[in-house]
Amino acid sequence: MARKFEFSKLFINLLFTVLSLIVILPFLLVIAVSLTDEKALTQNGYQFIPTSFSLDAYRYLLDAPDILLRAYGVTLTVTVIGSLTGLLLTAMTAYVISRQDYRYNRVTTFYVFFTMLFSGGLVPSYILITQYLHLKDSLWALILPILLSPFNIMVMKGFMSKIPHEIIESAKIDGAREFRIFFRIILPLSTPALATLGLLISFTYWNEWFNAMLYIDDPNKVPLQLLLVRTLNSIEFLTTNSEFTGQLGIDLASFPNSSARMAIAVLAGGPMVVIFPFFQRFFVKGLTVGSLKG
């Protein structure tokens, strides 16, 4: 095709450039605030270009890194355990549903799918977890409630039902049993879907705050997002937290309040923003696989 100048293409590109800026600029504001001197903030308010640059906020946070490090540790633990277990269970359930020759195929599909349509809601789950399973202040309370999502199972099933049945048949003839077929043949063949869903699940765990808000009171088990919730909820959190003030003898009047809050946000969200563009392409592929009705 001849390469000619097209006004409409320029317009579309311009539109997307503006939209991309609208999406990205707010983050830059948060970063800018975290890097601004506290006095300048009260004087000039939040600005995109810091009038007087300062790393004080980060220095305060990193001087007593215990809280942040512990929160990172909790979030990492929960993300790793949750993603691996969740992914394995999702694959196992999805595989069974994807087998057309499985006798309880329809029953199981309905059993899983129905939980997407109807649920007991917040209160019964809360009582179950706190009163009957006694998981309050346990990391399991962060892992278990979101372990297995019907939506992910359906996406996985969509992928697995495209694996030719002949492969399974021939493996059976060679004497392989179902467990071996699943772990040795189906799982390796499903790597693209496993990668996509694994990423989705681990992002869910990394960003999980709701169950933390409900079930975690123990300061040693606060994940990153709950730390953010508490900081957002009360400006006093940092200044009253003995670990920040007590052991360092920080002068509260000069404590970088606004900038410290934004610095916490940057430290908590930063890794995601840096890591995610690398995984972008998996998502487009994975979504193409799962979003079309099979």
């Binding site: 997307f16 991309s20 000039n44 308010g45 939040y46 006798r103 007991g120 179902e178 946000a265 079309l292």
Partner: protein, 328 residues
């Protein structure tokens, strides 16, 4: 032990002697189960998980009809019939949270779907290299939690130092107490929601569009179709199944609001409940902040039942019009 094993083996042989095919229904079912037991075992962890974390809580919904006390437990607490519901629906809370949940979700669906569809169609028109870049930028907020987005919103809306108020001041205008003024919140919430999810939805539709066979477009181009005609005559009709499935799912979720959006963006400010409170934030507050467990459960029950009815009817309507597009 050994004796037992050999006995049952003998018993099994005696029960089903070869040649005699007098199996009962249970016998046949057991036989089938034996053939399927390995696959069943594979699905067992998932089934048990759903039983504990999805089905048992459904039984727990009876709390909505009880006066729940922690010391008495679910089954020990006293029945109160429909009292919790009567109480909920006599205050104007029920109306407020229902109205907010439904209206906000309708707005999110309409604005979100049309914006994402438009962007996906436009994205298909530009070079892959550029569209990758835009996708990455628009997709970014999807990976951040609502808590973090709450910080971003706070940086703009905070009363004394927020970017918007300082900008207003620099133009000589009065600053606005955003977290105390309920009126602008529907607009704010819709904009923030759009900002966070439009990239993801665009990507879903875009993935659908690149899945469309390019021969359709080639044929249309030969016939002299314009870009707009191609969008309306090819892209949108072929995308209909995906759009409709997404719509059914969102209609089913009409009664389930986005807790994070409505809790963190308005910063849980009491001044704003009139225009930001949805069923989910109300249920959470009733449980955690007010401590009214039964009331909270009754609201959740109302939410779950209406949600189920909604998704069933949406699917039934779609199936009437075009069976291929329905969810089941």
């Amino acid at each position: 032990m050994l004796k037992n094993v050999s006995l049952t083996q003998q018993g099994a042989h005696a029960g089903a002697p070869p040649g005699k095919r007098r199996k009962t229904w249970i016998g046949r079912e057991l036989h089938h189960f034996k053939n399927n037991r390995e696959l069943f075992l594979l699905s067992l962890p998932g089934i048990l998980y759903k039983l504990i974390f999805a089905y048992i809580p459904m039984i727990g919904l009876i709390i909505a009809f009880k006066n729940y006390r922690y010391d008495l437990g679910i089954f020990g607490s006293k029945w109160v019939g429909l009292d919790n519901f009567r109480y909920l629906f006599t205050t104007d809370t029920a109306w407020r949270i229902t109205r907010n949940t439904v209206l906000y979700n309708t707005a999110y669906i309409l604005v979100g779907t049309s914006a994402a569809l438009l962007l996906a169609i436009l994205m298909n028109e530009i070079k892959a290299k550029w569209s990758k870049f835009y996708q990455t930028a628009l997709f970014l907020p999807h990976f951040l939690s609502w808590v973090l987005v709450g910080y971003v919103a706070y940086a703009f809306l905070n009363h004394s130092d927020g970017f918007i108020n300082r900008t207003l001041e620099s133009f000589g205008l009065e600053p606005v107490s955003w977290y105390q003024n309920a009126a602008p919140w529907p607009v704010i919430l819709i904009l923030v929601q759009l900002w966070k999810v439009v990239g993801f939805n665009t990507l879903i539709y875009f993935a659908g569009i690149i899945g469309i066979n390019s021969e359709y477009y080639e044929a249309a181009r030969i016939d002299g179709a314009t870009k707009r005609q191609m969008a309306f005559k090819i892209t949108i009709p072929l995308m209909a199944p995906i759009i409709i499935i997404m719509l059914i799912l969102s209609i089913g979720n009409m009664f389930r609001g986005d807790f994070g959006l409505h809790y963190f963006i308005p910063n849980n400010s009491g001044f704003l409940y009139g225009s930001t409170d949805i069923i989910d934030t109300y249920v959470y507050r009733a449980l955690r902040e007010v401590g009214n467990v039964s009331m909270s459960a009754a609201t959740g029950f109302y939410q779950s039942v209406v949600g189920l009815v909604l998704v069933l009817s949406a699917n039934a309507i779609v199936r009437k019009i075009n069976p291929d597009n329905s969810l089941w």
